[in-house]
């Protein structure tokens, strides 16, 4: 059962896939509707417990979506077990929201998409906007009946890029969504974040720097289509038909940009490189460029 799209927002109507976003007003009016599951996914593993949208379930990127041993996502069985335990069915409409302008919500949406969950949407503006609008929050635990989510193997071939894919991709558009300091090589992690996990600093040759937050409007939601086109098409030079890879430090901020490029601007071939800088910046003999310029594709020997 799929819930109808939110057609109330003129801003959404301009996007390539207007149905990928919902407004707080739309969601509040439909809480509890059969076929709709609201999922909260945050950076902070306890934030959900301090108060969440009534009826929402929590999915934690770290303890639930990641494999506990290998640096990878859960497999088809793991995902089926997880979604069954959350009471989500394969044909449910899933609306995800979270902290930090939906970083982790977008990341969760991307992982759901790797498993081909068809109808998964974001709450525009995420948790902060919902609260700022004075909408209901509860600490009441959510109880949903267990479902039988089918085991569907993850398909990494379309939406996900591995390091070797990025090497083969050099010369095609790459978007680095980290901070300018991480891009030019003065830091390996975002300002105010711990320095961790990469032995070298800089960016992948030819990557354009478009920090993720440029896609966010003042109210915390996504910027309107025309402003996004100005940033990604005119400024960053992306064109229809381009194969694009986005990356950041561990793949969460770039999931946010991936969502913008794929679902809001309609680029068909966009992949997220989740290995991102924590892999590239520590890998042996991969090319790296420092400074503010994108740099050149290195000669292949």
């Amino acid at each position: 059962m799929t819930v109808e799209f939110d057609t109330s927002s003129p801003k959404f109507a301009e996007y390539a896939e207007p149905g990928r976003l919902v407004t707080g007003e739309w969601l509040e009016a439909r809480l509890g509707q059969p076929g709709l599951v609201v999922v909260e996914s945050d950076e902070d593993v306890l934030l959900y417990e301090t108060g969440h949208i009534p009826g929402a379930v929590k999915v934690d990127w770290h303890t639930e979506l990641n494999d506990p041993v290998v640096r990878d996502y859960v497999d088809g069985k793991g995902f089926a077990d997880l979604l069954s335990s959350k009471g989500i069915s394969r044909d449910d409409t899933v609306v995800i929201y979270g902290d930090k302008n939906n970083w982790w919500a977008a990341y969760a949406l991307w992982v759901f998409s790797l498993f081909g969950h068809e109808d998964v949407r974001l709450l525009d503006g995420g948790r902060d906007k919902w609260i700022a609008e004075g909408r209901p929050i509860t600490t009441e635990p959510t109880v949903r009946e267990r479902t039988e989510y089918p085991v569907v193997e993850r398909d990494d071939s379309v939406l996900r890029a591995y390091k070797d894919d990025v090497l083969a991709h050099l010369g095609n558009p790459l978007i680095d969504v980290r901070s300018p300091e991480e891009y030019n090589g003065s830091r390996t992690s975002a300002p105010a974040y711990p320095e961790e996990g990469a032995l070298r600093a800089g960016h992948i040759p030819t990557a354009k720097s478009v920090p993720w937050a440029r896609a966010v409007a003042e109210d915390g939601g996504f910027k309107p289509r025309a402003e996004l086109d100005a940033i990604y098409r005119e400024e960053a030079g992306l064109s229809d038909g381009d194969p694009i890879i986005a990356y950041c430090r561990i793949g969460e901020r770039s999931s946010h940009t991936w969502f913008v490029l794929k679902h809001l601007l309609g680029f068909e071939n966009v992949r997220n490189y989740d290995g991102s800088w924590t892999e590239w910046g520590s890998a042996v003999r991969v090319p790296i460029v420092t400074g503010d310029a994108p740099g050149e594709v290195p000669g292949r020997s």
Partner: protein, 150 residues
Amino acid sequence: MIERMTETTLPASLAEIRDEFLELPEPERLQLLLEFSNELPAVPARYEGHQELFEQVLECQSPVFIAIEVDDDRVAMFATAPREAPTTRGFASILVQGLSGLTVDEALAVPDDYPDSIGLRRAVSPLRLSGMTGMLARAKRQIRAKRHSS
């Protein structure tokens, strides 16, 4: 072996907190961490408006700041962390409650891997827990520095 060393050097305050966590089934440990988060004491009035008295814990993803006082060989720890970062607040609260009131030697003897011993690795994830390890290391460094100046 490591167990025994930990037993002999861990102050009662931190041992009690650890046992409280370990007695609970894993999913309920998050609730206890939330309780700690809600209990983080406000900093004394003399710290208000004096951000320079605090040290930022850069190992944490959220802005958390700590301050240590050593007075007559007794440690007092203070911390601030935003409400929107309850996990980090919880870590700070555990250390504030566990370290405050200890003698300098007792506090410095707290094992550096105490955060790994309280049963949160799976519930919270090792990456997040490393923020608490960084917080403890910074607190001990401040205690060492202030012991000599007090």
